[in-house]
């Protein structure tokens, strides 16, 4: 116990990096994922197909492989990006594909009659999305999307493998100095759990808030 408390100040910086990386990836993947998911659902074939291929390839690849691929492959093509950016791009690409699928599922769950009713009163595509489809899809979107957020926080631990000092690597550094792996890994797991459990609780409250569409 005392080891855990003594270690906390040394983990603070790493925890911040984990939170920053996660927040950035969540924000980017939310915007891109919703766009790609809309493209998958409503786009013509020429739009939907490339997205489908992208999503299937990325989701079918382990995140770790993706991180190493971008970390090693991009410099080889002459594009020099630091290890932090490589990790961010890999994580964002991975989560974007997952968010796109979540968005697609939510959008497809809306009855086609809703779109038709919107058309019938003269709403344009953008207006139908904004006022008819998205508000209803939101409730179906939220629970699985929070899962992707939790996955992002957990997946961000892999960025330690390309040398970014996040929470995970901070823990390992403290272990390197103290030779006390067990209490520190337990501490690490606890911190990750607290973050993710807080997210899940928030999600449940949001879900109740948007419960106007009842099945």
């Amino acid at each position: 116990m005392s080891v855990m408390i003594a270690a906390l100040p040394f983990l603070w910086q790493g925890l911040l990096v984990t939170l920053e990386v996660s927040a950035l990836v969540v924000a980017v993947s939310l915007v891109l994922g919703v766009l790609l998911g809309s493209g998958l659902t409503y786009g013509p074939r020429i739009v939907a197909w490339p997205i489908r291929i992208y999503s299937d390839v990325v989701r079918g690849t382990p995140l770790l492989v993706l991180i190493f691929f971008i970390y090693y492959a991009l410099p080889a093509t002459g594009l020099k990006i630091g290890n932090l950016w490589a990790a961010l791009v890999a994580l964002a690409a991975f989560e974007t594909a997952h968010v796109a699928e979540v968005a697609r599922g939510a959008l497809q769950s809306i009855h086609p009659g809703q779109t038709e009713a919107g058309k019938a009163i003269g709403l344009t595509f953008e207006q139908r999305m904004l006022y008819v489809v998205f508000p209803q899809a939101l409730r179906r979107f939220l629970p699985p999307w929070v899962n992707t957020v939790v996955d992002t926080v957990k997946g961000s631990a892999l960025v330690s493998l390309v040398g970014i000092v996040d929470l995970m690597l901070s823990i390992q550094q403290v272990i390197g100095r103290t030779f006390r792996p067990m209490p520190l890994y337990i501490l690490g797991a606890l911190i990750y759990f607290i973050i993710n459990y807080a997210l899940s609780l928030t999600a449940r409250r949001l879900e109740a808030r948007f419960a106007y569409v009842r099945e």
């Binding site: 009659g113 058309k119 019938a120 009163i121 508000p135 209803q136």
Partner: protein
């Protein structure tokens, strides 16, 4: 461009539409005059709902012409299909009421009616609310402005659907089997509203299985069969002495089902 009161308000000529290899409409002609109520009857698969959906471009038609108030709805003068924004503007001129109501479940009854008024007609919030409440009261729902669709009965939901369509002040109202999904005891309250609109001179095209209703409310009845208009006339002509074999057997089948 429009406003010629002698010309039919809705003019359909040689309308054809296929879904894949299945040709659903095979050259339909139909005229509907201003203020006229036309009922379309026919067995399922005869193309009546598709015809209705072509009039406000929920379905694109392959060939032929659909004009509402002198404007070709699906294509520009150069035969180019209309884009999304043009379609939206044209659709705003026709109202549609759906078999399954299709109310927006996340909006109250008043908000359902207000959405088009606000976003398409660009009305201010107060004006839109007043108009929405006016029309909801007209269909007998003055107690239900703030109710969500889920809190309403089927008949009440369908009356919101009618209010939503009529509040937009459409040139023509399209009614697609609007009582088919209702419990029998709720059909009356919806048909009463349609009768009222007919008396006030609303131009309507209705697809229906309610033969009594078609006879009472429509000036003209159109019997569709195999993607064509097979018989057309006053209710007396269509439901009275009948020589058309397919119409006779259709009416007999409906009769047997006790409608």
């Amino acid at each position: 461009m429009s406003g010629n009161s002698a010309a039919p308000l809705v003019q359909v000529r040689g309308l054809s539409k296929s879904f894949g290899t299945n040709q659903v409409l095979k050259g339909v002609d139909l005229d509907v005059r201003r203020g006229e109520v036309v009922a379309i009857i026919g067995s399922s698969g005869s193309g009546k709902t598709t015809l209705l959906r072509c009039i406000n471009l929920l379905e694109r038609y392959d060939s032929g012409s659909v004009q509402v108030d002198g404007v070709e709805v699906g294509y520009r003068a150069d035969k180019h299909p209309r884009g999304e924004h043009e379609l939206a503007r044209i659709r705003a001129g026709t109202g549609m009421v759906f078999q399954l109501f299709n109310l927006f479940p996340h909006l109250t009854a008043a908000e359902n009616v207000m959405l088009g008024l606000r976003k398409v007609r660009r009305m201010g919030k107060r004006q839109a609310r007043e108009l929405a409440e006016h029309w909801l009261s007209r269909v007998g729902l003055s107690e239900k402005f703030a109710s969500l669709p889920i809190e309403l009965s089927g008949g009440q939901q369908q009356r919101v659907g009618i209010a939503r369509a009529v509040a937009m002040n459409p040139k023509v109202l399209l009614l697609d089997e609007i009582t088919s999904a209702l419990d029998p005891e709720l059909v009356g309250e919806v048909l009463t509203v349609v009768h009222q609109l007919a008396r006030e001179g609303m131009t309507m095209i209705l697809v229906t299985h309610e033969m009594t209703f078609a006879r009472d409310v429509a000036a003209r009845v159109v019997f569709m069969d195999g993607g064509r208009v097979a018989v057309e006339g006053t209710p007396r002509e269509v439901f009275g002495t009948q020589t058309h074999e397919r119409l006779r057997s259709f009416l007999a089948r409906i009769e047997l089902k006790g409608v």
